[in-house]
Structures are given as structure tokens and as C-alpha cells.
Symmetry: none
Subunit: 541 residues, 2 copies
Amino acid sequence: MERLYLYDTTLRDGQQTQGVQFSTAEKHAVAAMLDDLGVDYIEGGWPGANPTDSEFFEAVPKTRATMTAFGMTKRSGRSADNDDVLAAVMNAGTPAVCLVGKTHDFHVKTALGISLDENVENIKASIAHVAEQGREALFDAEHFFDGFKANPVYAIRSAKAAYDAGARWVVLCDTNGGALPHDVRRGVKALIEAGIPGTHVGIHTHNDTENAVANSLVAVAAGARQIQGTLNGLGERCGNANLTTLIPTLLLKEPYASQFETGVSHDALKGLRRVSRMLDEILNRVPHRQAAYVGASAFAHKAGLHASAIAKDPSTYEHIDPALVGNSRIVPMSNQAGQSNLRERLTQMGLDVAKGDPALQRILDRVKDREAAGYSYDTAQASFEVLAREELGLMPKFFEVKRYRVTVERRRNKRNKMVSLSEAVVVVKVDGVKTMSVSESLGPDGSDRGPVNALSRALVKDLGRYAECVADIHLTDFKVRITNGGTEAVTRVIVDSEDGQGRTWSTVGVSANIVDASFDALLDAIRWKLVRDGIKDGAAL
Amino acid sequence: MERLYLYDTTLRDGQQTQGVQFSTAEKHAVAAMLDDLGVDYIEGGWPGANPTDSEFFEAVPKTRATMTAFGMTKRSGRSADNDDVLAAVMNAGTPAVCLVGKTHDFHVKTALGISLDENVENIKASIAHVAEQGREALFDAEHFFDGFKANPVYAIRSAKAAYDAGARWVVLCDTNGGALPHDVRRGVKALIEAGIPGTHVGIHTHNDTENAVANSLVAVAAGARQIQGTLNGLGERCGNANLTTLIPTLLLKEPYASQFETGVSHDALKGLRRVSRMLDEILNRVPHRQAAYVGASAFAHKAGLHASAIAKDPSTYEHIDPALVGNSRIVPMSNQAGQSNLRERLTQMGLDVAKGDPALQRILDRVKDREAAGYSYDTAQASFEVLAREELGLMPKFFEVKRYRVTVERRRNKRNKMVSLSEAVVVVKVDGVKTMSVSESLGPDGSDRGPVNALSRALVKDLGRYAECVADIHLTDFKVRITNGGTEAVTRVIVDSEDGQGRTWSTVGVSANIVDASFDALLDAIRWKLVRDGIKDGAAL
């Protein structure tokens, strides 16, 4: 088995994502995650370029992975010793240093405004400086593939200069993301033919044509043995090569799985979905549902034909077992579902229904009608379960909502500031007893959280025998869209809930009235929790 | 130049995306967009599979592109004539019919449970049936690449059966998305060597390893001449090959640009970003910022080194000119380019502001603060104009809202049916006079239209001198998103308005309270109309 090295730049190039700015503490958290995953190099940032990166390197974490500081080759007109930008990078004291330099003649002239020879001298001197100090030197050959097209002799000469000066790795960068797989193959091959062994060649790609992953794979096929990338494909513009995708491909797919060994174990691979979600959590980004391998939809089988075959053998429509990357299968409900899809889904909910049970068709018909009215059960699995249980006679009534009223008011307060306040009254009949509850909408900080918040709080305030079970439900998300219900525009509300045990579930409500739609979704959320917790219906006792 | 055909399946495979469910009207809108773009085939859905698809084909739009109905090869034990599933597809009467069939021996045995020969006979009979009726027949060879690995002879035999029976296209499908570029190259080459000319071979890929685009390109390099994909990469699980990425690559990048001709003109390409956003609007999906070519971040230069070189020559860090796909460059708001972009945007609104006017920086700062609080001015151009006018001293006050109150109530009516009703009271001061208006929320059919409707009606009910100008404003759409405002989750509401002259404009409101956010968006909509209609502020008279 040959060794293939993974170099993570989430903390440096990943930070160039629009809207992403790590704090120092977050950089530490991400570095620990990367180290547990098993990447070989962690590029922590550019010491001296900004306060966060400098602070991170002041107390750099101890990692099994080689911690790397990023910088650029020395500027002209001064020695490597006397370049303060380079000095800041060296002073971070990391075992490895990665310096970016120009290999495209156009950039040497346009961006640097120096001679081609001078640039080669700067590369040599800078890399030699790093190597002389006993550090592992890496050279990021910026715009290598464009440079190779424009002036192949110069691109190779400048890359080779870094290697000859002692660079452990010469990393070919598709900096503007414009190279296609055939460009990458040609460039990597030419460099190896020019005398840099593939075991010293790396690849750094961007996703501007959606080819970052393919370009990394083609570089490996051409002989490169280091891949640079980021978790979740973060990075400048369209992002870098996505390690969250490349890692499972390299570990699970041929010819890579048989040919290469990486620092990531199959055990660590099982944590990949969690790593991806943790990074989203840290950055407060919405996880990408359609992400390869780790996305919530990656093993969601919506097509009826697919779902029925999956029920016979999951390998019919799954290219890998989702458990290998810590993901799981979803058979969503939709109006494309057939009975076999439905039975599979019910089984997952612990509801075993015999083939041919007439309730199956009733459930499908009701789902179809409801979807035509604007409902959607793809994500609102708990509302689907409530509906199915109703048709199967397995859904207790629990309580009855007699009426509700919500008031939203905006007016000036005593300090003449415009403030809003919502208030909700809910009247419920539990065990034959009518209770009336009221709640306002102020959050812990005293600010108004709106009418749905007030309604949700009033609803759970006095549910008698059910109060304890529903007390720990929190609303975690709330999604609204206008859609068509028959010929009218209606509002669809999806509510995500969570309880004290960390269980999460989603419910849906539809109405022309957004408050009504929200209320119905809230009701389903409560009823799902009661039935799942095995609470008995008071009326039935 | 060789002709390369683009086959769009947004309306069929794209609808398999979790959370996506087109209405019939939305299908018509997307088909019109695709036709304007210039794809060659539009796959409209599966007639008979669900009510929406059936309804779409009942009144199928006239398109320049070849409208295609999707279905599956006939089932065993009946003739092509007597298969009701196939009949529903044929009855749609489209000029082209695409039938999916098995080419992987494992699936024939496991999913269909029939003999290998029987499957080949079913393919032949089905394709011949389509061709005999004078329709263009396409065969989607399901799981072709897995099938080719497992049993190459059978995979090719079944694909060839379709071709020999009269299929215009044999489309090789990587149904589970597990094939890598080298697998696709091998499969396409083998099929062409087996005697199906490349001009009759198509490729259909999925993005489960992030290689859908690369797999499409490698298939073309191997000789295939039709690409199937979807707008924005919608599709089952991780999505299909993204035509929004493939189209600019084929039109702008070598060797494709010189070698191939497609139905998409360079002029239509300039509308690509807009097409991508319109689809997101229709589906109320958050546009993917990092999308190749069309994403908001695709030409955003965050790295300092990049931004300074871009100022010298944009081609230093841009692989294409963003204008070619209707996109634009983003550089950090703080620098000089931010101000010149802003001036250009203001000029477009008829507001000429001198270079260096201090109001420019105030506008940029306020947009930055507001975006941090959860606002978004990408689509809400009218709210942006109101903000800019305020800083420029060009926004009259018109009137003042003193307070409002909305009540939403659900209770039983006289016939013991649960009904909802909203009622809004708005107190406004116009020309020094306080007016108080009330409205309920019943639509023309007597049904409740919800609290925002009531609020909107109460607000415009008694605006004194402004009443006439605002009387013809209608709300045409209303979009709600939960987003981050600082550390809190807030609700962002975008309201689309239209007036009697057919003018449309969008405004935004943000608050933790959805009614408040809606109210602010409504206020901006009214103020924009007043200022645009040149109405004078009563207080200033």
C-alpha cells in the first residue's frame, strides 16, 4: 500500500469563505476535530496576517498531525532573514511551513512587477531558509495550471526551484479554480516527468467548475501523493476540494481503497458525518442536505421505484452502506411513494403493518390529498407518523383544543421606544376538564419572541396529566413557505422540536393563516411526543 | 463544430430532491425558463405517476425544446400495448418518450425477479412500441456502470437491444451515483466500441461522490453526445449533474468551446445567474452562495492578496469574466471598489451621487450592520433604495405609525366548525391627524387570509392624502426565512408587491416577531411607492 497524505486547510483557505470568521477558540476546536479524524497536516493560518491567526499560533495546540504555518515567499530587495512577513511565519515555530509563490509568468509581471529570474531566486531563497532551520518546507505553486498553459518551461522551472531548494512537497495549486481534469492530469504528469517524484507532489484545487474533487483524484492518478482540501468544502469563492467527500472516496472506492493508505482509519470514518455537522455547528451554518456521503439527503430515497427495491436489498440503490460514514437511510413520504415505500417507512417507526392492509391505501390517499393541499412530509416525518397512526387506529386523542386567540401589538413604551408584545390564550379540554392558559412572548432577555412563541407556551402551560411529558419540548427551528394548496396560496410551516433527551422531530401545518399553520404544526409536535413516550390517553383509562 | 445535446430533467429527477414538490403552475414556469435558456429536451415528468405530473401533461406547454415524457419499460407478462403504466406515458402525446430499464443483471434478478432474457425482450418491445408510434425513443440504461462492472456482456447486450429496437439515444445512467470518472470513461468507450455511435449515446450522472459534472465531461471526452442534468443540480439524494455548471463550462472552456455547439447561446448564458435564482425563488430555496459560476460568492475575493491583484487586473484571480454568466464581482465593502459599485447601483435607481460623498460610506456601513442583523438586500431592492434615500436626505417621512394590534382567533362557528379569523387595528398620524383603521382578513371567498393580510389592509385603509397612491398595491408574494441576526434567531420576511401599472418591487423586514417583520416590509413597500410616484410629503408642504 502506498501512503497518500491529507493536508487540511480549513483553518486558512476555509476561512476565506464569505461569512466565515473563526475565533481562536473555534480554531482550536476544529484543529482537535481534524486531529481525531487523522489528517496528516493541519494548516492553522497565516501568522501575522490577522489577529486571530497570530493568537492561534501563540499557543498552538499539540497535535499528532503536523501543524503548519502558511505564508508567502520573501519579497524582492531583501533577504529571507530580513523579510518581516516571512519572519512572522517562521516565528510561529511550527514543524512545517508552507509558502505560496508564483509560477505563472503573467502574475510575476502583473501582480509582483519583478523579473522572472528574480521570482525564481525568491522561491529558492525562501524555501532554503525554511529547510535550513530544520522545518519541513512546502511550496504552494500558485496558478500552476494556468502558468503551465501559458509558459510551461517557466512554470516547471519555478516549481523545480522550490524542490531543489529543499521543499518536501511541491503543491500544484489551481488558484482561480478554472482548471479542468484534463489540464490537471497534463500538469502533474509534466512536473513528475521533469524530475520531481510524485511522492513529493501535492494538489490544491478549487471548486469553481465543480471539479475540485475530480481534479484531486486525477492528480493522484497522475502520481501526486498529497491532497489539500477543507472540511465541508469551505474556501475562497466556490470553496476548496472537499475532504469530507474525498476521504470516503479514497477509503471505500477502487482503485484507491486497495492502492493507498491514509492517516484516517475506518473507525474515524464512521465519525465523518458528525465531524461535518460539528463544523457547521461551530460556524452556525445550515448543513448542506445534498452533501455527498454526509448530507441528510445523501441516502434519502424519494423515488417510489428506488424505495421498493431498497426494501428488498439496500445495495440496489446505495453506492455505499451509509453506516460506514456515520450516516443513515431515509425513505421520505411523498406522493411518489408506493405501498412498499410506505410499509418500509412504517417499519422504521416501529409500526408493522401487514402487506395489503387497507389502512395502507387510506394513508397513501390522505398523504396525496394533503400534499395537494400544500403539506409536505419529506422532512415532517413526525406529522406523517401522526397521520399514519390515526389511520391505523393507533393515535390517542389525548386532549382537545376548543379555541385560541393570539394578539400581537406594537406600541410605544414608557421610554417612548417602539416595542412589540404578543399574548396568546389557549382553551383546552383535558380529561373532560376545560383549562384556559395565557402566555406572553418575552424571551429570557426581555425581548419579544413573537406570536408563535406565545402560542406554543400557552399551549403546553396546562395540559393536566400530559404536562410533565411535554414540559421539555423546545422549538429549535421554524420554516415558512408560501405554496399552492389547491387553487389558493397557502402558508406551510415546518416546526423542528427537540426534547430533554436530545430527540429531534419535525412537524408540518398548512393554512392561509400563518398562525393557524404554526399552531397545527405545534399540536402535531406535542401529540407525537406523547405517543412516542407511551403516554396513555386519559379518556381511555 | 459537433452538436452536443442538453437534456434537462429538473421537472422529473429534480423533483426527487427532498423537500421539492412542484405544482403544475411551477412546472410550466420552469419549462418556459428552460426553453428560453435553450436546452434541447425538457423531461416534464412521469405521466400517471402522480397527479401533478399527469395534470402537467394534460395541457403540455408548447416549447421549442423537445418535450419528453418519462416512464419505464413494460412489465413482464403483458405486451407493450397492454401495459397501463406505459400507456399513460404514451398517452401524454409528447414528441419524445424516455423509458428507464435495467442493464445490471443483479437488478433484473433482485428488483424485477425475471430472467435476463425476459428483461432484454421487455426493453426491445417497449422501445419498438415507442418508435413505431413515430415518437423519438430514449432509453435510460439504469445502473449501467455498476452493471458493466458486474457483467459487461449483459450490460452492453441490454443497452444494445434498445438501440437496435430504434432508440434515438441510449443514455448511460449512474443511478446510485457511485461511479468515478475512470468507471464512466471505460463504460462509454466499451458501448461505443460495441457498435452504438457516440452520437446516440447520452450520460446521466448523480453527485454522490461530487463527480457528477466530471463524469459528464469524461463521458463527452469518451464520445457521448447527450448530457442529462438539472438546474442548480437538483435531484434524488445528492442531486444530478448540474447543468447550471456544465453549460458555462461547455460554452466557455476548452476544448469544449471550440469543439461543440449546443442550443444555448452566449446571450442566453448571460441570463444563467437569473435562471438559477428564479428556480430558487419558485422553490423558496436559499440560493447556494458557493455555487460554481452563478453563486453569490463565485466571484467574491476575500483574500487580501487576491483583492489587490484584482484591482490591477481582474483576470489575475478570475477564471472567467463573471458578466458572461450574468454574475458580478464582489470585493469587501470597506474598500474603494465597494463605493464605486454602490454609486453604480444608485445611478441605476436614478440617484446620482458624487464620488467621495460621505453618505456613500454611511450607506455601506448601514447595509453592513443590517446584514449582520439578518437583513438581505439581494432581492429587496426597494428596501435598499429606501435606506439609501434616508442617508441621502431624499426620503420623505410621509406618515407615522403610532401603534398596531393584530388578533388571530380560532374557534367553533355556529355550525360547530373550527374557523379562524384575524383582525388588525392600525393607528397612523398623517398630516398631524391621527387616524385609526381596522380590517379583518377574509378573502373574496369568505376564507381567512391571515394576520398579515388584515394588517396590510388596515394600514392602507386611511392614509389621508396618500390613500389614492397606495390603493392599487397588491401583495403578490410573501417569503419567510429564519436566519441569524447577531446571536439570536430572527425572522426575515420578504414581501413582493405589484401596482396597477404592473410595476413590481420587493421589500424586507426583520424581527424575532414574524408579524413585526412583515409589518416593516409592508411599510417599506408603501414608502417606496409613494417616493417613486413623486408624492410630496404633506408635512413639508
